[in-house]
Amino acid sequence: MRIGVFICHCGSNIGGTVDCAKVAEKAALFPDVVYATDPMYTCAEPGQATIESAIAEYRLDGIVVASCSPRMHEPTFRRTVERAGLNRYMLEMANIREHVSWIGKDVESNTNKAAELVAIAVAKLRGNTPLHSKSFEVNKRVLVIGGGVAGIQAALDCADGDIPVVLVEREATIGGKMAKLDKTFPTVDCSACIVGPKMVDVAQHPLIALYALSEVEEISGYVGNFTVKIRKRAPYVDWDKCTGCGACSVKCPSKKTPDAFNEFTGVTTAIKVAFPQAIPKKAVITAAHCRQMSRGKCGVCAKVCPTGAVNYDMEDVIVTEEVGSIVAATGYDLMDWTVYKEYGAGRYPDVITSLQYERLLSGSGPTCGHIRRPSDGREPRIIVFIQCVGSRDRSIGRPQCSGFCCMYTAKQAVLTKDHLPESQSYVFYMDIRAPGKMYDEFTRRAVEEYGVEYVRGRVSCVYPDGKGAYSVMGVDTLLGRPVEITADLIVLAVGIEGSRGAGELAEKLRISYDNCGFFMESHVKLKPVETNTIGVFLAGVCQGARDIPASVAQGSATAAKVLGLFARDRLENDPQIACVDMRRCVACGKCVRCCPFGAIEEVSVRDEQKAHVIETVCQGCGLCAATCPQGAVQLAHSTDNQILAEVNTLCRY
């Protein structure tokens, strides 16, 4: 090999604390190095030209650039060597800026360290070989998981772009959390009225296949070619026949069924359509509360159904869909608020969550929009809102801000005054986070026009005062005094977490998720909708707290990503992937067992079982290479011999 080494000064960024000329001088003595120099700015045009001309002049077939992090300029220099006629992978970089010049001032140590980093880059480069990508076809269909507002937007935008969409929703209706809200901030317009038409669009779009009451069971494959198994849970009603007329629900004798749609603030019937605007507008039986199904006696709904749609014997169905891309838009759930024992959360009936309060405010809710205390049905007079319950609380492992609580609390306080003009609301807050358009103005209106009392401080505890009300022990840190309020109703702004089962879904999608069940984006700033699994995108709160407009925007953003991905008919893989040396392979199956991507299969070669890497699925993590005992699986450009060469360069008596 004929190697050229370029030690970048990066102006004084590197040159200031590293003797670059000396590093180049040392590098010239390294194995296979035939040329070494130290340009001022290697990434700049003249610097790149130096590389190109050196490749020609010295017939170089491998290049080491010692400069900034490869995470910064590896693509740049790959293009450079490619322009000069080399394979783009015949490049190695030594990071002598972020890892050397910027973290220490001692020139002697830095120079020596830089030279050693160059030495290991040279050692590694000597094991490089030209690599070439493979191309493969793309199945231009998309799966959207979750039919909340973000998923709806993503589905509609994709479908409008002529991409067939499979939309999977766990609940019986799409609409997500937004469908449960009474009003939206800061305009205080009706939530159901604005999401409703979009839900109808989904139902009517010819390119959208909607699976409600369904969950993703299994995902295999890779970008362009995913195979998804979807479990359609049995609604015990034949949806092809059901017209959503509601006759069943009227006659259902099991009227004490807990009402999940109303956040358990009320009861409902065992068979019902989730809510009047539900999409699909189809009835579902809650098996556990259905008398026919739990006790074998009743059958009223089957009798009254005009189309004979009720079928108690229905079973789950698994359907398989082939798609080329996946959008996860699974939203959120409230964290387990009962950990707040000091507020009697879950213990005292009049201490409720903000989402429950939303249902109490809603005209379609259990109280038909009249605010009544759950304990005794009385109209509350003093209402206390407590912010940050399960947010910004490290003691229970929830350090993050849930983002939208400040705003909906202001909205709820305003609505409370609208509903109950005699009432007085108090909001205990730590900071008011209102960075959206017209948001801060809205909170000011709550205070100035609606007389909502904002008290700056947390609440230590809530307890029943023995007289039917509750003592709220708080603090006003602005005054530096504890405060105490006797309240009728306490609304907790409960923090959010990734929706139930998000972790399992993440593992099926092979994407990462954080401690709160939120999916991890590929780059927090620059790739906010991409994930580490190519072809899987994120929309809405499943990625982290955000409000409705942001969720909608992100839904559209994922659609743009999907459309961009599908603009090409074929995709190319990264060739830095694993490869099996068939001769060494003894088919012990260890690599197959632990590959996180299912990228290794066993194939029969001349009657012998051998491992084989599916090139388009392999992501190049190298776990197989670390697992194979005889070293039959090697990861291109991170082979055992290359890493050993690096180790041996450094560690030698």
């Binding site: 992090s69 995470r71 910027w102 580490n532 040396d581 067992r593 996180p596 005889q630 070293g631 030698r652």
Partner: protein, 482 residues
């Protein structure tokens, strides 16, 4: 390359490209001043870091090795670091048996944005390594030879298997023989005091079968070579564990093996027997009673009590009869398993870290690299493609160097991690008596402690612990960097 004399120590870092390398970049961007010792090797994922790279570095002059990856659950490849966490924790707890201070190796998780954490990790680790000082050179320590204490008490009475149902076994084997390629068992070796494996293909062969404490070989080692053919095998309890482990790893298939199980009453430590017999020309007679065996050689009688001359593994054996079998003679003996440290490991436990290094240097000095240890191991799957003498990958030098020899043993031990059933054939096969079983035992002990008392070869359906993971590991308590 030599380190900067007096200034730096040799510290090697393996950083995953996505998180920790990014974190180190972020620390640089933030001008977070750090000690200069660390040399970073960029790898795609912490899962790529085979623990033996680390051993290689530590045996060849590294004073410290640091591996850093994405936080668990935040792996760019979704699960690489989960595997890494298991493997690296096993390595960390394994290192002391070699005489290497485990503080010289650390693994951690640093995210791409955690510049401060990275600075803290590097500073803390570098300071820690400096506090430990330069790592001792393996080939510079004085050899030390120590002998394991073999005065042990068995969990159950050991015997000679005198009353075993050998005729019945032979009958049963003869009945099955027509459908089998062969049946593997034991026959007499070059004299009456040795047995060797027998591959019975005919009823006449079956008559050569013997049963008793001389049946030391583990016949399971031959099974994978018959892959695809149906064979029978006579097993002691310990041999059956190897069979189960082979089944666990799909290296053989259940329908291809017929197991004939006999309750084992213990096997003899032929090394110690040989020592006592000394140089002799002829064995005149071997006579056994229930608890002892008398060998008459060149007219001289030697009596060996099973309780005193059994193999080390027999003393702690709680499964004398195979747990898995097709044809079984005898009832399982009710022995309560007791977790006792095996003698070889107990010896190492009793030594200080420097003594352990000296010990291995002394022991490996005898090694001729004949690889009898490897080839006698039933779990060695690589067979003809062992990394010991391959050039791609080129893990080992051919130099007759104790360091390379110990390195091979470490590689073998690591390839057996979570798979070794402790049959001890490696050590028994060693012609120069190197107690290499201790390395496997240490790994076995670590695995047992980390993974819910996992014992290899006890459950055909269990996943070997290093080939699986849990998102939340119960017993791996990662060290904070406070």
């Amino acid at each position: 390359m030599p380190v900067l004399e007096g200034k730096e120590l040799r510290i090697v870092g393996f950083l995953c490209n996505w998180c920790s390398y990014g974190g180190a970049d972020a620390a640089g961007v933030g001008r977070a001043v750090q000690p200069t010792d660390l040399r970073i090797i960029r790898v795609p994922c912490s899962g790529r870091v085979d623990p033996i790279f680390i051993v290689k570095a530590l045996l060849n002059g590294a004073d410290g090795v640091l591996v850093s990856g994405c936080h668990p659950r935040d792996c760019h490849y979704s699960a690489g670091n989960f595997y890494a966490r298991r493997r690296l924790e096993v390595l960390k707890q394994f290192l002391p048996v070699l005489g290497i201070d485990e503080a010289r190796f650390e693994y951690t998780w640093v995210g791409a944005s955690e510049a401060q954490l990275w600075q803290h990790v590097v500073t803390t680790f570098t300071n820690r390594v400096h506090a430990l000082g330069k790592a001792p050179r393996f080939d510079a320590v004085e050899p030390l030879l120590k002998i394991a204490d073999m005065a042990l008490t068995a969990l159950r009475p050991l015997g000679t298997g005198k009353n075993a149902a050998l005729p019945k076994l032979k009958e049963a084997i003869k009945a099955k023989l027509p459908e089998l390629e062969c049946v593997i068992g034991w026959q007499q070796g070059y004299d009456e005091a040795r047995t060797v494996p027998l591959f019975a293909r005919t009823p006449q062969d079956v008559d050569k079968f013997v049963w008793g404490p001389f049946n030391v070989n583990n016949p399971a080692v031959y099974l994978p070579t018959f892959r695809g053919k149906k064979v029978g095998i006579v097993v002691k309890g310990c041999d059956a564990r190897s069979v189960v482990e082979l089944l666990q790893e799909n290296l053989i298939s259940r329908e291809d093996v017929i197991l004939f199980a006999m309750p084992c009453e213990g096997t003899l430590d032929m090394a110690r027997i040989g020592e006592k017999l000394g140089r002799y020309t002829t064995v005149d007679a071997v006579v056994c009673d229930e608890a002892s065996i008398t060998i008459t050689a060149d007219g001289k009688e030697h009596r060996f009590c099973m309780a005193d001359f059994a193999q080390g593994k027999c003393y702690g054996c709680a499964t004398p009869l195979a747990a898995l079998s097709d044809v079984s003679f005898g009832a399982p003996v009710d022995v309560k398993p007791v977790s006792a440290t095996p003698p070889e490991l107990a010896l190492l436990d009793s030594l200080s870290l420097p003594e352990r290094m000296s010990f291995w240097r002394g022991q490996m000095g005898k090694c001729l690299r004949c690889y009898a240890c490897r080839n006698a191991c039933p779990m060695c799957v690589c067979r003809d493609y062992c990394v010991s003498d391959s050039r791609d990958p080129h893990w080992m030098s051919q130099l007759a160097d104790e360091r390379e020899k110990l390195f091979f043993q470490t590689v073998h031990a690591f390839h057996l991690a979570g798979r070794c059933t402790g049959c001890g054939e490696c050590q028994r096969a060693c012609p120069v008596g190197i107690p290499i079983l201790a390395l496997r035992q240490q790994i076995g002990r670590v695995i047992e402690q980390l993974f819910e008392s996992y014992k290899a070869g006890t459950d055909p359906a269990a996943a070997p612990p290093l080939l699986t993971y849990m998102p939340q590991e119960k017993n791996i308590h990662e060290r904070g960097w406070k």
